[in-house]
Symmetry: C2
Subunit: 385 residues, 2 copies
């Protein structure tokens, strides 16, 4: 397999882009990434997106978006893995370059959520779950995560404020991210006083609804090595799945897709969790951030919440996590999130992360999830000098 590099990155601010179409959002991110890469043309495009069919009555995003950036003719497809669509698209792009078939590949992620009502978004998100066996009960996606949240506190005696601390970390980091949806600091009291959305999950423990697009240019590592800034290698790219129905899982509190994808990624990259300098996890809710830390091997089983509340994931902590805001505060435009994560880690490794720069960061890891950890995409990035 050829080694792969992240040559360029670009994204829009996450927010309520009432006046901008899905196509235009994507185009903005794509041109930013192409400019950053210094590349005018790519040979293939993979677009991560979950529900443009539902929200925009628009499918066929591969051909449509290749057209919108003036590159009709190239190979293109949409990749879908629910909220993990962006990560799955990065994996597709990685394989395309690693195979030797394509040299320059654009991977994008885009979701325009505000074209439909919040109630419709709630319906759309449940398309990530098994409709016949879970969806029919009427439970919402936040409701499923609330079950895990409650079970976690009951099983391990974790305190609600320990779990809620995850949101505080994200918001503090988002303050310095010009692309973040909610760039304001948050105190733990405000999280714990916010309304309950699905008991025990509170409003400020949930990512918001937002529009956004993110894109990266991938190429063979050898083609990136001449760059002045030093290349960023995509040292491992893995996707794994888990049983969808929570009632069929062996242990509800183990994120097994994340665990499998991470273990394979560590093996491929020849690394351990201790080698990672900067981390992006999929905290759609505070509890999913906590369980991600455990699944990835940064905290022991049942100790993730304590690990968070003790400050280990802060910028100066043991493993700086979601350094530009994470899903909670940068935002979670579903199909784009996995690509935003790769961009943010690449910026850290290039020394482009601004005020939240982790000095000397050499290795970064991203974890992007679809459903309640039913699909997990893990990417390891490494700085090459």
């Amino acid at each position: 397999m050829r080694k792969v590099a992240v040559l360029g990155v670009g994204c829009t601010k996450v927010g309520e882009h009432w006046g901008t179409s899905l196509k235009d959002l994507f185009t903005e991110a794509a041109f930013a990434a192409l400019n950053d890469a210094g590349v005018e043309k790519v040979e293939a495009l993979y677009v991560g997106n979950m529900f443009s069919g539902y929200a925009q009555q628009q499918e066929h995003l591969g051909a449509l978006l290749a057209d919108s950036i003036g590159m009709s003719g190239i190979s293109a497809a949409k990749i879908e893995g629910a909220c993990g669509s962006g990560g799955a698209a990065v994996h597709a792009g990685y394989l395309a370059v690693a195979s030797g078939m394509y040299d320059y590949v654009l991977v994008g992620g885009v979701e325009k959520m505000t074209d439909v009502s919040t109630a419709q978004v709630t319906t759309a998100l449940m398309m990530a779950e098994n409709r016949d066996y879970i969806g029919f009960t009427g439970i919402t996606f936040v409701g499923l995560n609330a079950l895990l949240h409650r079970l976690y506190t009951k099983t391990y005696g974790a305190k609600l404020e320990e779990i809620a601390a995850f949101a505080v970390n994200d918001h503090n980091n988002a303050v310095n991210n010009p692309y973040a949806q909610y760039p304001f600091p948050l105190k733990i009291e405000r999280v714990l006083e916010s309304p309950i959305v699905a008991d025990p999950i509170r409003l400020f423990e949930c990512c918001g609804v937002g529009d956004g697009a993110a894109a990266i240019v991938l190429c063979p590592l050898d083609n990136a090595k001449a760059l002045a800034k030093g290349a960023v290698e995509l040292a491992a790219s893995t996707v794994a799945t888990n049983v969808l129905s929570l009632n069929e899982r062996d242990d509800l509190l183990v994120f097994d897709a994340t665990r499998k994808a991470a273990n394979k990624a560590y093996e491929i990259a020849g690394l351990k969790p201790e080698d990672v300098d900067v981390l992006e996890v999929h905290d759609a809710f505070t509890i999913t951030g906590v369980l991600a830390l455990e699944g990835l091997g940064f905290a022991k089983k049942g100790e993730g919440a304590k690990f968070v509340s003790e400050g280990n994931i802060a910028l100066g902590g043991k493993i700086p996590t979601n350094t530009l805001g994470g899903l909670k505060a940068r935002g979670h435009p579903i199909g784009a999130t996995g690509v935003y994560q790769v961009i943010e880690v690449a910026k850290q490794l290039r020394g482009d992360a601004g005020k939240n720069q982790i000095n000397g960061a050499e290795v970064g890891l991203t974890q992007n999830v679809g459903g309640v950890d039913s699909t997990a995409a893990v990417h390891v990035l490494r700085r090459c000098r």
Copy 2:
């Protein structure tokens, strides 16, 4: 790049499967393919599907269907390229094996169209087109193809019965395909007397609405060579795109995505159209079948309809085409079609095509399209002895 083989194939009959869920349809095809391949486990799954979100309110088919075949844990994603989703999924699977990352990959395609009304299917199909610039006019998908149909007759003086002959060929071939939706012969008179759907396209020139699933197992060619039957190599796999809006195209009567994908595939496989023994083209309508023959280089520009009506695509003709019924008569369960095509060509190369066997077939080609040739996936299969 590693060379790739088609190790096993399986599909359901195309039809109105009222009593079978999308998941169960897929499972039937997947197990048939796994059994045929003699493989119990794969490492990755790619599922071609266009509108399960619309018709079943179900996304996340990668993880869902990996789960439904008892393989949770493996890498999985849904690949979407409108009616070309199946071909795009085969391309994703090809890259996955060619890259060296995965040895055994299952590629499936599935669409359950009869869960919604025909009017809703009409709406769903228009998601393949640019909604902002074409969809808003209210034109239907068959309407767009009718424009090409009329323009073709005006430009080249082709007769309606020459174009309609494509449907007759498909139906005659479907008679001997137990998986075909419409396995009955058709006379040209019946086509030309059938009701007009979108002038000048008549009912029996349109593929039907049907449910179906198809699956193939891919592996490195070296792993397939030990097989008694002789391996079937996936000698080329390409995807190309075209401008979506018909009004922006240089020449409406050139299938440019097909042309680009085919030319690249010929180059990779080291072949010319004359070397192809058996062909599957995407005849969603008779006119698209005719334009496909021209785009692929089997007929000259403007001569495709005459080529068809002169019997060149019949079983005993110059280039036997859609030997098991094509989209018109085998059926066109959108996201599955590209996979059905690869299965049917593989069967021909293995000598498993039953009464419609093309004796001595060594090379086959499939062409699968999304939108009005906005995405085209071309696959070249070759028998290795």
